[in-house]
Protein backbone atom coordinates (compact mmCIF):
# COMPACT_ATOMS: atom_id res chain seq x y z
CA UNK A 1 0.00 0.00 0.00
CA UNK A 2 1.37 3.38 -1.02
CA UNK A 3 1.36 5.87 1.80
CA UNK A 4 0.75 9.53 1.38
CA UNK A 5 3.97 10.71 2.99
CA UNK A 6 4.40 14.44 3.29
CA UNK A 7 6.85 16.80 4.87
CA UNK A 8 5.01 18.28 7.80
CA UNK A 9 1.23 18.49 7.48
CA UNK A 10 -0.29 19.86 10.66
CA UNK A 11 -1.86 16.99 12.56
CA UNK A 12 -4.37 17.24 15.39
CA UNK A 13 -1.63 16.71 17.94
CA UNK A 14 0.13 19.86 16.68
CA UNK A 15 -2.94 21.90 17.61
CA UNK A 16 -2.92 20.34 21.08
CA UNK A 17 0.74 21.16 21.67
CA UNK A 18 0.40 24.66 20.30
CA UNK A 19 -1.64 26.18 23.13
CA UNK A 20 -0.66 27.70 26.41
CA UNK A 21 -3.42 26.59 28.75
CA UNK A 22 -4.90 23.31 29.85
CA UNK A 23 -7.94 22.20 27.87
CA UNK A 24 -10.44 19.48 28.70
CA UNK A 25 -12.87 16.95 27.32
CA UNK A 26 -15.68 16.64 29.82
CA UNK A 27 -17.78 13.52 29.63
CA UNK A 28 -20.55 12.50 32.01
CA UNK A 29 -18.66 11.20 35.06
CA UNK A 30 -15.15 11.59 33.61
CA UNK A 31 -12.84 14.22 32.22
CA UNK A 32 -9.41 14.41 30.64
CA UNK A 33 -7.01 17.33 30.24
CA UNK A 34 -6.31 16.55 26.59
CA UNK A 35 -3.52 19.09 26.23
CA UNK A 36 -1.45 16.57 28.26
CA UNK A 37 -1.29 14.59 25.01
CA UNK A 38 1.69 16.72 23.97
CA UNK A 39 3.74 14.75 26.49
CA UNK A 40 1.72 11.58 26.95
CA UNK A 41 -0.53 8.96 25.47
CA UNK A 42 -3.88 7.29 26.09
CA UNK A 43 -2.96 4.23 24.03
CA UNK A 44 -0.73 2.38 26.51
CA UNK A 45 2.40 2.52 24.36
CA UNK A 46 0.69 1.01 21.30
CA UNK A 47 0.79 4.07 19.03
CA UNK A 48 3.91 2.80 17.27
CA UNK A 49 2.07 -0.45 16.42
CA UNK A 50 -0.84 1.50 14.95
CA UNK A 51 1.38 3.73 12.81
CA UNK A 52 0.78 3.29 9.09
CA UNK A 53 -2.27 1.07 9.59
CA UNK A 54 -5.95 1.37 8.72
CA UNK A 55 -7.43 1.77 12.20
CA UNK A 56 -11.03 1.30 13.33
CA UNK A 57 -11.89 3.53 16.29
CA UNK A 58 -14.45 1.36 18.10
CA UNK A 59 -14.35 2.78 21.61
CA UNK A 60 -17.38 2.64 23.87
CA UNK A 61 -17.30 6.34 24.71
CA UNK A 62 -16.79 9.61 22.88
CA UNK A 63 -14.07 10.57 25.38
CA UNK A 64 -11.85 7.64 24.38
CA UNK A 65 -12.62 8.24 20.69
CA UNK A 66 -11.62 11.90 21.05
CA UNK A 67 -8.24 11.01 22.55
CA UNK A 68 -7.58 8.24 20.03
CA UNK A 69 -8.42 10.53 17.08
CA UNK A 70 -5.90 13.14 18.22
CA UNK A 71 -3.20 10.50 18.62
CA UNK A 72 -3.92 8.66 15.39
CA UNK A 73 -4.16 11.63 13.03
CA UNK A 74 -0.89 11.95 11.14
CA UNK A 75 0.22 8.48 12.33
CA UNK A 76 -2.40 6.06 10.99
CA UNK A 77 -2.80 5.58 7.26
CA UNK A 78 -6.57 5.66 7.64
CA UNK A 79 -8.98 6.20 10.53
CA UNK A 80 -12.49 4.75 10.34
CA UNK A 81 -14.79 6.09 13.03
CA UNK A 82 -17.44 3.65 14.22
CA UNK A 83 -20.58 5.55 15.24
CA UNK A 84 -22.34 4.49 18.45
CA UNK A 85 -25.36 3.03 16.68
CA UNK A 86 -23.47 1.02 14.04
CA UNK A 87 -24.76 -2.53 13.67
CA UNK A 88 -22.29 -5.23 14.63
CA UNK A 89 -23.57 -7.37 11.74
CA UNK A 90 -22.20 -4.81 9.27
CA UNK A 91 -18.69 -4.85 10.73
CA UNK A 92 -17.10 -7.60 8.61
CA UNK A 93 -18.15 -5.82 5.41
CA UNK A 94 -16.88 -2.47 6.68
CA UNK A 95 -13.57 -3.96 7.86
CA UNK A 96 -13.00 -5.58 4.48
CA UNK A 97 -13.96 -2.52 2.45
CA UNK A 98 -11.76 -0.11 4.43
CA UNK A 99 -8.88 -2.64 4.62
CA UNK A 100 -8.93 -2.26 8.39
CA UNK A 101 -6.03 -4.05 10.09
CA UNK A 102 -6.11 -2.53 13.56
CA UNK A 103 -8.71 -1.56 16.14
CA UNK A 104 -8.81 0.74 19.15
CA UNK A 105 -11.15 -0.42 21.91
CA UNK A 106 -11.67 0.97 25.38
CA UNK A 107 -10.39 -0.10 28.76
CA UNK A 108 -13.06 -1.09 31.26
CA UNK A 109 -15.94 -1.01 28.80
CA UNK A 110 -17.70 -3.91 27.13
CA UNK A 111 -16.38 -4.37 23.62
CA UNK A 112 -18.80 -3.69 20.83
CA UNK A 113 -17.80 -6.81 18.86
CA UNK A 114 -15.12 -9.47 18.62
CA UNK A 115 -12.35 -7.99 16.51
CA UNK A 116 -9.98 -10.49 14.94
CA UNK A 117 -7.42 -8.03 13.58
CA UNK A 118 -3.59 -7.98 13.55
CA UNK A 119 -3.37 -5.08 16.02
CA UNK A 120 -5.69 -4.39 18.91
CA UNK A 121 -4.93 -1.37 21.09
CA UNK A 122 -6.70 -0.30 24.26
CA UNK A 123 -7.47 3.33 24.96
CA UNK A 124 -7.37 4.19 28.67
CA UNK A 125 -9.23 6.83 28.47
CA UNK A 126 -6.75 8.86 30.45
CA UNK A 127 -3.29 10.16 29.64
CA UNK A 128 -0.05 8.65 30.92
CA UNK A 129 3.17 10.62 30.56
CA UNK A 130 5.32 9.07 27.85
CA UNK A 131 8.01 10.02 25.40
CA UNK A 132 6.55 10.53 21.94
CA UNK A 133 7.92 7.87 19.62
CA UNK A 134 8.89 9.53 16.36
CA UNK A 135 7.19 8.03 13.33
CA UNK A 136 6.45 8.95 9.72
CA UNK A 137 3.98 11.79 9.32
CA UNK A 138 1.14 10.75 7.08
CA UNK A 139 -1.77 12.56 5.49
CA UNK A 140 -4.31 10.39 7.29
CA UNK A 141 -7.55 9.47 5.52
CA UNK A 142 -10.65 9.98 7.66
CA UNK A 143 -13.57 7.63 6.97
CA UNK A 144 -17.03 8.42 8.33
CA UNK A 145 -20.12 6.24 8.11
CA UNK A 146 -23.35 7.60 6.67
CA UNK A 147 -26.54 7.23 8.67
CA UNK A 148 -28.48 5.28 6.07
CA UNK A 149 -31.59 3.68 7.51
CA UNK A 150 -31.25 0.30 5.81
CA UNK A 151 -28.38 -1.94 4.74
CA UNK A 152 -24.64 -1.53 5.25
CA UNK A 153 -23.85 2.15 5.82
CA UNK A 154 -21.76 3.84 3.15
CA UNK A 155 -18.21 4.81 4.08
CA UNK A 156 -17.23 8.32 3.11
CA UNK A 157 -13.62 9.44 2.79
CA UNK A 158 -12.43 12.82 3.99
CA UNK A 159 -9.11 14.47 4.79
CA UNK A 160 -8.39 16.63 7.82
CA UNK A 161 -7.84 19.56 5.45
CA UNK A 162 -11.32 19.11 3.95
CA UNK A 163 -12.98 18.54 7.33
CA UNK A 164 -11.45 21.66 8.82
CA UNK A 165 -11.76 23.93 5.74
CA UNK A 166 -15.06 25.46 7.01
CA UNK A 167 -13.31 26.81 10.11
CA UNK A 168 -12.19 30.03 8.53
CA UNK A 169 -11.81 33.15 10.64
CA UNK A 170 -14.43 35.84 10.88
CA UNK A 171 -17.49 33.87 11.87
CA UNK A 172 -19.61 34.06 15.03
CA UNK A 173 -18.38 30.50 15.68
CA UNK A 174 -14.92 31.89 16.45
CA UNK A 175 -13.46 32.58 19.86
CA UNK A 176 -14.94 29.64 21.71
CA UNK A 177 -13.64 28.91 25.16
CA UNK A 178 -15.94 25.95 25.77
CA UNK A 179 -17.75 24.13 22.99
CA UNK A 180 -20.64 21.81 23.64
CA UNK A 181 -22.69 19.67 21.31
CA UNK A 182 -25.77 17.51 21.58
CA UNK A 183 -24.34 15.41 18.73
CA UNK A 184 -22.11 12.38 19.15
CA UNK A 185 -18.67 13.37 17.85
CA UNK A 186 -18.48 10.13 15.86
CA UNK A 187 -21.00 11.54 13.37
CA UNK A 188 -20.18 14.31 10.88
CA UNK A 189 -22.09 17.05 12.73
CA UNK A 190 -20.41 16.21 16.03
CA UNK A 191 -16.98 15.68 14.51
CA UNK A 192 -17.15 19.25 13.17
CA UNK A 193 -17.53 20.52 16.73
CA UNK A 194 -14.79 18.24 18.09
CA UNK A 195 -12.43 19.62 15.42
CA UNK A 196 -13.51 23.22 16.07
CA UNK A 197 -12.70 22.74 19.76
CA UNK A 198 -9.30 21.12 19.15
CA UNK A 199 -8.23 23.57 16.42
CA UNK A 200 -9.79 26.62 18.02
CA UNK A 201 -8.14 26.43 21.43
CA UNK A 202 -11.28 25.42 23.30
CA UNK A 203 -12.44 22.70 25.68
CA UNK A 204 -15.41 20.46 24.81
CA UNK A 205 -18.37 19.14 26.79
CA UNK A 206 -19.31 15.77 25.31
CA UNK A 207 -22.85 14.39 25.18
CA UNK A 208 -23.72 11.00 26.59
CA UNK A 209 -26.30 8.61 25.19
CA UNK A 210 -29.26 8.19 27.53
CA UNK A 211 -28.35 11.15 29.72
CA UNK A 212 -31.44 13.18 30.66
CA UNK A 213 -31.51 16.51 28.84
CA UNK A 214 -31.66 18.44 32.12
CA UNK A 215 -28.50 16.69 33.40
CA UNK A 216 -26.68 17.41 30.14
CA UNK A 217 -27.68 21.07 30.32
CA UNK A 218 -26.54 21.10 33.95
CA UNK A 219 -23.09 19.88 32.92
CA UNK A 220 -22.95 22.44 30.11
CA UNK A 221 -23.79 25.17 32.64
CA UNK A 222 -21.20 23.94 35.15
CA UNK A 223 -18.43 24.04 32.56
CA UNK A 224 -19.51 27.45 31.31
CA UNK A 225 -20.34 26.51 27.71
CA UNK A 226 -19.81 29.43 25.33
CA UNK A 227 -20.63 27.75 21.98
CA UNK A 228 -23.26 25.05 21.62
CA UNK A 229 -24.42 23.03 18.62
CA UNK A 230 -27.16 20.54 17.82
CA UNK A 231 -29.95 19.65 15.43
CA UNK A 232 -33.24 21.56 15.58
CA UNK A 233 -34.71 18.42 17.23
CA UNK A 234 -31.97 18.50 19.87
CA UNK A 235 -32.73 22.15 20.51
CA UNK A 236 -36.51 21.66 20.67
CA UNK A 237 -35.95 18.95 23.27
CA UNK A 238 -33.60 21.23 25.21
CA UNK A 239 -36.18 24.04 25.13
CA UNK A 240 -38.62 21.69 26.88
CA UNK A 241 -36.32 21.67 29.93
CA UNK A 242 -36.24 24.45 32.51
CA UNK A 243 -32.49 23.80 32.73
CA UNK A 244 -32.03 25.63 29.42
CA UNK A 245 -32.18 28.80 31.53
CA UNK A 246 -28.97 27.84 33.36
CA UNK A 247 -26.73 28.13 30.28
CA UNK A 248 -25.71 31.35 28.53
CA UNK A 249 -23.88 30.49 25.30
CA UNK A 250 -22.56 33.29 23.10
CA UNK A 251 -23.07 31.24 19.94
CA UNK A 252 -25.87 28.81 19.21
CA UNK A 253 -25.59 26.62 16.11
CA UNK A 254 -28.13 24.41 14.37
CA UNK A 255 -27.41 21.86 11.65
CA UNK A 256 -28.44 18.44 10.41
CA UNK A 257 -32.12 19.23 9.89
CA UNK A 258 -34.15 22.10 8.50
CA UNK A 259 -33.91 25.08 10.87
CA UNK A 260 -37.35 26.64 10.60
CA UNK A 261 -38.19 30.18 11.67
CA UNK A 262 -39.96 28.94 14.82
CA UNK A 263 -36.88 27.28 16.30
CA UNK A 264 -34.63 30.21 15.30
CA UNK A 265 -37.03 32.66 16.97
CA UNK A 266 -37.41 30.36 20.00
CA UNK A 267 -33.66 30.27 20.55
CA UNK A 268 -33.33 34.01 20.05
CA UNK A 269 -35.97 34.57 22.73
CA UNK A 270 -34.17 32.33 25.23
CA UNK A 271 -30.67 33.57 24.35
CA UNK A 272 -31.18 37.24 23.44
CA UNK A 273 -27.43 37.99 23.64
CA UNK A 274 -26.24 35.01 21.57
CA UNK A 275 -25.55 34.72 17.86
CA UNK A 276 -27.96 32.13 16.50
CA UNK A 277 -26.73 30.53 13.29
CA UNK A 278 -27.67 27.54 11.19
CA UNK A 279 -25.32 25.58 8.98
CA UNK A 280 -25.88 23.29 6.05
CA UNK A 281 -23.70 20.21 5.90
CA UNK A 282 -23.86 16.51 5.14
CA UNK A 283 -21.42 13.63 5.58
CA UNK A 284 -20.90 13.50 1.81
CA UNK A 285 -21.11 17.17 0.84
CA UNK A 286 -19.28 18.58 3.86
CA UNK A 287 -20.16 21.99 5.30
CA UNK A 288 -21.57 24.16 2.52
CA UNK A 289 -22.55 27.36 4.32
CA UNK A 290 -23.47 29.09 7.55
CA UNK A 291 -26.44 31.44 7.83
CA UNK A 292 -26.14 34.02 10.59
CA UNK A 293 -28.90 36.55 9.86
CA UNK A 294 -31.44 34.81 12.08
CA UNK A 295 -33.69 33.87 9.17
CA UNK A 296 -34.67 30.41 7.91
CA UNK A 297 -33.42 29.35 4.50
CA UNK A 298 -30.48 30.98 2.75
CA UNK A 299 -29.97 33.92 0.38
CA UNK A 300 -30.60 33.02 -3.26
CA UNK A 301 -27.28 34.71 -4.07
CA UNK A 302 -25.49 31.73 -2.49
CA UNK A 303 -26.50 29.67 -5.52
CA UNK A 304 -24.46 29.96 -8.69
CA UNK A 305 -21.53 31.77 -7.10
CA UNK A 306 -18.24 30.57 -5.71
CA UNK A 307 -18.09 31.38 -2.00
CA UNK A 308 -14.82 30.31 -0.36
CA UNK A 309 -14.56 27.57 -2.96
CA UNK A 310 -18.10 26.28 -2.34
CA UNK A 311 -20.32 26.25 -5.41
CA UNK A 312 -24.00 25.35 -5.36
CA UNK A 313 -26.66 24.78 -7.97
CA UNK A 314 -30.24 23.60 -7.90
CA UNK A 315 -31.19 20.80 -10.29
CA UNK A 316 -34.77 19.53 -10.29
CA UNK A 317 -35.29 21.33 -6.95
CA UNK A 318 -32.45 19.38 -5.37
CA UNK A 319 -29.39 21.18 -3.96
CA UNK A 320 -26.05 20.18 -5.48
CA UNK A 321 -22.69 21.15 -4.01
CA UNK A 322 -19.11 21.19 -5.27
CA UNK A 323 -16.35 22.20 -2.89
CA UNK A 324 -12.99 21.16 -1.47
CA UNK A 325 -14.91 20.24 1.69
CA UNK A 326 -16.88 17.44 0.08
CA UNK A 327 -15.76 13.89 0.68
CA UNK A 328 -13.32 12.56 -1.91
CA UNK A 329 -15.10 9.26 -2.55
CA UNK A 330 -16.96 6.30 -1.11
CA UNK A 331 -14.75 3.54 0.26
CA UNK A 332 -15.24 0.06 -1.12
CA UNK A 333 -18.52 0.71 -2.89
CA UNK A 334 -17.89 -0.53 -6.41
CA UNK A 335 -18.95 1.88 -9.11
CA UNK A 336 -20.96 4.17 -6.84
CA UNK A 337 -20.02 7.76 -7.57
CA UNK A 338 -20.18 10.29 -4.76
CA UNK A 339 -20.33 13.19 -7.19
CA UNK A 340 -21.28 13.71 -10.83
CA UNK A 341 -18.68 14.13 -13.57
CA UNK A 342 -18.38 17.83 -12.83
CA UNK A 343 -17.74 17.13 -9.14
CA UNK A 344 -21.16 18.14 -7.79
CA UNK A 345 -22.66 16.09 -4.95
CA UNK A 346 -26.45 15.72 -5.14
CA UNK A 347 -27.56 16.28 -1.54
CA UNK A 348 -31.13 15.01 -2.05
CA UNK A 349 -32.27 18.05 -0.06
CA UNK A 350 -35.09 19.81 -1.86
CA UNK A 351 -35.26 23.60 -1.93
CA UNK A 352 -37.85 26.13 -3.02
CA UNK A 353 -37.22 29.75 -4.01
CA UNK A 354 -39.46 32.17 -2.10
CA UNK A 355 -38.63 35.80 -2.83
CA UNK A 356 -34.88 36.25 -2.52
CA UNK A 357 -34.28 33.20 -0.34
CA UNK A 358 -34.16 29.48 -0.87
CA UNK A 359 -35.96 27.41 1.75
CA UNK A 360 -35.41 23.74 2.45
CA UNK A 361 -38.66 21.84 2.03
CA UNK A 362 -37.69 18.21 2.61
CA UNK A 363 -35.81 15.15 1.42
CA UNK A 364 -36.11 13.77 -2.09
CA UNK A 365 -36.90 10.32 -0.67
CA UNK A 366 -39.43 11.57 1.88
CA UNK A 367 -42.20 12.77 -0.41
CA UNK A 368 -45.76 11.69 0.42
CA UNK A 369 -48.12 11.27 -2.53
CA UNK A 370 -51.68 12.41 -1.83
CA UNK A 371 -53.89 11.51 -4.76
CA UNK A 372 -51.10 12.53 -7.16
CA UNK A 373 -50.06 15.68 -5.27
CA UNK A 374 -46.62 15.59 -3.71
CA UNK A 375 -46.03 16.74 -0.17
CA UNK A 376 -42.91 17.09 1.98
CA UNK A 377 -43.66 16.33 5.64
CA UNK A 378 -41.06 18.91 6.70
CA UNK A 379 -42.89 21.84 5.06
CA UNK A 380 -46.03 21.01 7.04
CA UNK A 381 -44.02 20.59 10.24
CA UNK A 382 -42.52 24.04 9.68
CA UNK A 383 -46.03 25.53 9.64
CA UNK A 384 -47.25 23.59 12.69
CA UNK A 385 -44.07 24.53 14.58
CA UNK A 386 -44.93 28.21 14.06
CA UNK A 387 -48.06 27.78 16.19
CA UNK A 388 -47.37 29.41 19.57
CA UNK A 389 -48.51 26.40 21.59
CA UNK A 390 -46.41 23.85 19.67
CA UNK A 391 -42.96 22.66 20.75
CA UNK A 392 -42.34 20.15 17.94
CA UNK A 393 -44.21 18.15 15.32
CA UNK A 394 -43.82 15.06 13.17
CA UNK A 395 -45.87 14.73 9.99
CA UNK A 396 -46.24 11.25 8.53
CA UNK A 397 -48.29 9.53 5.92
CA UNK A 398 -51.38 7.50 6.68
CA UNK A 399 -52.84 5.09 4.18
CA UNK A 400 -56.14 6.11 2.69
CA UNK A 401 -58.37 3.79 0.65
CA UNK A 402 -59.52 6.79 -1.34
CA UNK A 403 -56.50 8.93 -2.17
CA UNK A 404 -53.62 6.53 -1.40
CA UNK A 405 -52.12 8.58 1.40
CA UNK A 406 -53.09 11.36 3.73
CA UNK A 407 -50.88 13.35 6.05
CA UNK A 408 -51.36 13.21 9.81
CA UNK A 409 -49.39 15.00 12.52
CA UNK A 410 -48.04 14.02 15.93
CA UNK A 411 -47.59 17.15 17.99
CA UNK A 412 -45.76 17.89 21.24
CA UNK A 413 -47.22 20.93 22.98
CA UNK A 414 -45.19 23.31 25.10
CA UNK A 415 -45.19 22.12 28.70
CA UNK A 416 -47.57 24.78 29.97
CA UNK A 417 -50.18 23.58 27.50
CA UNK A 418 -50.61 20.07 28.97
CA UNK A 419 -54.21 20.44 30.04
CA UNK A 420 -57.82 19.29 29.82
CA UNK A 421 -59.40 17.36 26.91
CA UNK A 422 -61.56 20.39 26.13
CA UNK A 423 -58.47 22.59 25.92
CA UNK A 424 -56.79 20.00 23.69
CA UNK A 425 -59.66 20.06 21.20
CA UNK A 426 -59.47 23.84 21.21
CA UNK A 427 -55.72 23.81 20.52
CA UNK A 428 -56.09 21.10 17.86
CA UNK A 429 -58.77 23.07 16.00
CA UNK A 430 -56.63 26.17 16.24
CA UNK A 431 -53.58 24.35 14.78
CA UNK A 432 -55.77 23.05 11.94
CA UNK A 433 -57.07 26.53 11.28
CA UNK A 434 -53.48 27.78 11.29
CA UNK A 435 -52.55 25.09 8.73
CA UNK A 436 -55.52 25.87 6.50
CA UNK A 437 -54.49 29.51 6.38
CA UNK A 438 -50.92 28.70 5.41
CA UNK A 439 -51.15 25.57 3.29
CA UNK A 440 -53.08 24.22 0.32
CA UNK A 441 -55.88 21.85 1.31
CA UNK A 442 -54.09 18.55 0.63
CA UNK A 443 -51.22 19.54 2.93
CA UNK A 444 -53.47 20.17 5.93
CA UNK A 445 -53.21 17.16 8.31
CA UNK A 446 -56.28 14.93 8.27
CA UNK A 447 -55.72 14.29 11.96
CA UNK A 448 -53.58 15.68 14.77
CA UNK A 449 -52.56 13.60 17.77
CA UNK A 450 -50.94 15.06 20.86
CA UNK A 451 -47.99 13.03 22.10
CA UNK A 452 -45.76 13.60 25.16
CA UNK A 453 -42.56 13.34 23.12
CA UNK A 454 -41.17 12.45 19.71
CA UNK A 455 -38.33 9.99 19.16
CA UNK A 456 -35.02 11.49 18.11
CA UNK A 457 -32.62 9.10 16.33
CA UNK A 458 -28.99 8.69 17.50
CA UNK A 459 -28.05 11.04 14.64
CA UNK A 460 -30.00 13.81 16.38
CA UNK A 461 -32.63 13.87 13.67
CA UNK A 462 -36.34 13.36 14.21
CA UNK A 463 -37.00 9.61 13.77
CA UNK A 464 -39.07 9.15 10.62
CA UNK A 465 -40.47 5.74 9.84
CA UNK A 466 -40.28 5.21 6.13
CA UNK A 467 -43.30 3.44 4.74
Amino acid sequence: MKMARVDAPPSLRDYVADTSGARYFWQRGASVCFTDLDRGTSLGGRLADLAGRSVLVATATQLAAALALIELDGRARRITILPPDAEVAHLPALIEAAEIDAVVVEQGSPERATFDLPVRAVCAPSIKTAELVPSARLRTEWVMLTSGTTGVPKMVMHTLAGLTAPMRAGSPADGAAVWGTFYDIRRYGGLQIFLRAVLGGASLVLSSAGEPVADHLGRLARHGVTHLSGTPSHWRRALMSQAIRTIAPRYVRLSGEIADQAILDGLRAVFPHASVGHAYASTEAGVAFDVNDGLAGFPAAFVGTNRDGVEMKVVEDSLRIRSPRTASRYVGTEGLALADDAGFVDTGDMVELRGDRYHFVGRKGGIINIGGLKVHPEEIEAVINRHPQVRMALVRSRQSPIVGSLVVADVVLKSEEASTPARQIEVRDDILKFCREALPRHKVPAAISFVPSLAVAPTGKLARRRA
Binding site: G371, R398, P401, I402, A447
Partner: protein
Amino acid sequence: MEDVAREHGKILAPLDDDLVLANSGLDSLGFAVLVARLEDTLGVDPFTAAEDAFFPVTLGDFVKVYENGAR
Protein backbone atom coordinates in the same frame (compact mmCIF):
# COMPACT_ATOMS: atom_id res chain seq x y z
CA MET B 1 -69.32 15.54 7.08
CA GLU B 2 -70.38 19.12 7.69
CA ASP B 3 -67.21 19.73 9.72
CA VAL B 4 -65.01 18.41 6.92
CA ALA B 5 -66.88 20.41 4.29
CA ARG B 6 -66.53 23.58 6.35
CA GLU B 7 -62.83 22.96 6.97
CA HIS B 8 -62.25 22.40 3.27
CA GLY B 9 -64.29 25.42 2.28
CA LYS B 10 -66.89 23.31 0.46
CA ILE B 11 -70.62 23.88 0.34
CA LEU B 12 -72.51 20.75 1.16
CA ALA B 13 -75.72 19.72 -0.58
CA PRO B 14 -78.66 18.99 1.77
CA LEU B 15 -77.92 15.61 3.34
CA ASP B 16 -80.34 12.72 2.81
CA ASP B 17 -80.04 9.01 2.06
CA ASP B 18 -80.59 9.43 -1.68
CA LEU B 19 -77.93 12.11 -2.11
CA VAL B 20 -75.41 10.95 -4.72
CA LEU B 21 -72.00 11.36 -3.07
CA ALA B 22 -70.42 12.69 -6.25
CA ASN B 23 -72.88 15.60 -6.02
CA SER B 24 -72.51 16.13 -2.28
CA GLY B 25 -69.93 18.88 -2.53
CA LEU B 26 -67.13 16.84 -1.01
CA ASP B 27 -64.33 15.75 -3.32
CA SER B 28 -62.15 12.67 -2.96
CA LEU B 29 -59.76 14.41 -0.58
CA GLY B 30 -62.70 15.48 1.56
CA PHE B 31 -63.98 11.91 1.66
CA ALA B 32 -60.52 10.59 2.45
CA VAL B 33 -60.34 12.94 5.46
CA LEU B 34 -63.89 11.97 6.47
CA VAL B 35 -63.07 8.25 6.34
CA ALA B 36 -59.90 8.83 8.39
CA ARG B 37 -61.84 10.84 11.01
CA LEU B 38 -64.55 8.17 11.20
CA GLU B 39 -61.87 5.52 11.69
CA ASP B 40 -60.43 7.50 14.59
CA THR B 41 -63.86 7.89 16.17
CA LEU B 42 -65.39 4.47 15.41
CA GLY B 43 -62.21 2.40 15.27
CA VAL B 44 -63.18 0.93 11.91
CA ASP B 45 -62.36 1.64 8.26
CA PRO B 46 -64.81 -0.49 6.28
CA PHE B 47 -63.23 0.50 2.95
CA THR B 48 -59.81 -0.86 3.78
CA ALA B 49 -61.30 -3.84 5.66
CA ALA B 50 -63.55 -4.84 2.73
CA GLU B 51 -62.24 -7.68 0.59
CA ASP B 52 -63.89 -6.50 -2.60
CA ALA B 53 -63.35 -2.98 -3.81
CA PHE B 54 -66.64 -1.20 -3.39
CA PHE B 55 -67.51 2.43 -3.18
CA PRO B 56 -70.95 3.64 -2.21
CA VAL B 57 -72.90 5.79 -4.63
CA THR B 58 -75.36 7.49 -2.29
CA LEU B 59 -75.08 8.80 1.24
CA GLY B 60 -77.45 6.01 2.33
CA ASP B 61 -75.03 3.43 0.89
CA PHE B 62 -72.14 5.18 2.64
CA VAL B 63 -73.87 4.98 6.03
CA LYS B 64 -74.80 1.33 5.35
CA VAL B 65 -71.14 0.45 4.71
CA TYR B 66 -70.37 1.70 8.22
CA GLU B 67 -73.35 -0.13 9.73
CA ASN B 68 -72.15 -3.37 8.13
CA GLY B 69 -68.53 -2.67 9.04
CA ALA B 70 -69.41 -2.11 12.69
CA ARG B 71 -70.96 -5.57 13.04
